[in-house]
């Protein structure tokens, strides 16, 4: 159990740094989707399935949909 609790937060931090640094907004949105995926897995490992379902429902579809629609209406590059 200890190995999971070390690997998964490191992957989360790497995703967050990439989202903050990346210049292309489409790539940032894709990595943000991966971040929400791994965050749901982290909540799930901490035995909080309520929060995991909320994170899966909101982060999986609605947030990415809103961001992609906004990129379509504006510029792709920062």
């Amino acid at each position: 159990m200890g190995a999971l609790y070390i690997i998964l937060p490191l992957a989360l931090i790497a995703c967050a740094v990439f989202v903050a640094v990346c210049r292309d907004l489409l790539y940032a949105v894709v990595v943000l989707a991966v971040l929400s995926l791994l965050l749901a897995f982290q909540f799930y490992l901490l035995k909080a399935p309520d929060v995991a379902i909320a994170e899966a429902g909101i982060g999986a579809a609605v947030t990415t949909a809103i961001f992609i629609i906004c990129i379509r209406a504006t510029e792709r590059r920062e």
């Binding site: 399935p49 309520d50 379902i53 909320a54 579809a61 609605v62 949909a65 809103i66 629609i69 379509r72």
Partner: protein, 152 residues
Amino acid sequence: MSKIVRTVANQLILFVVIFGLYVIIQGHVTPGGGFQGGAIIASGAVLLIVASGSQEIKTWLRERRLSVVESSGALLFILLAFAGIGTVFFFNFLVGSRLFGGIPSVGPNPGDVWTGGVIPLMNLGVGLKVMAGLSAVVLALALFSGGEELEE
């Protein structure tokens, strides 16, 4: 999008809505609740928007109707909160009555749907509210994004 995606989405929306209703109604027994189930059903609406395009969805799913549903959900929530004001605000007055009135035994048990007092009805209200609200936001953004000409 293509015909394959449209067909699969039209078949899959049934399962998404049924699972969302399951999460809402069983919210006091298993993990889940109003917010989570409403988010799942709103994701079904988002799937329909990406599969068929917002201009075809617009013919039967209006923001005006969605705002009516959302306001009725909020009204149900606040009326249930005010109904127990004889004792205290947000009092669980249905425990022991015939509607959702059972009391579970203490400790780990498989659970029963007819328990929880006023909690399942509040779950229903919050579920209606979240479902209509998130669907309305995404639908309005998609209509606004698709309505104007883009130069690319």
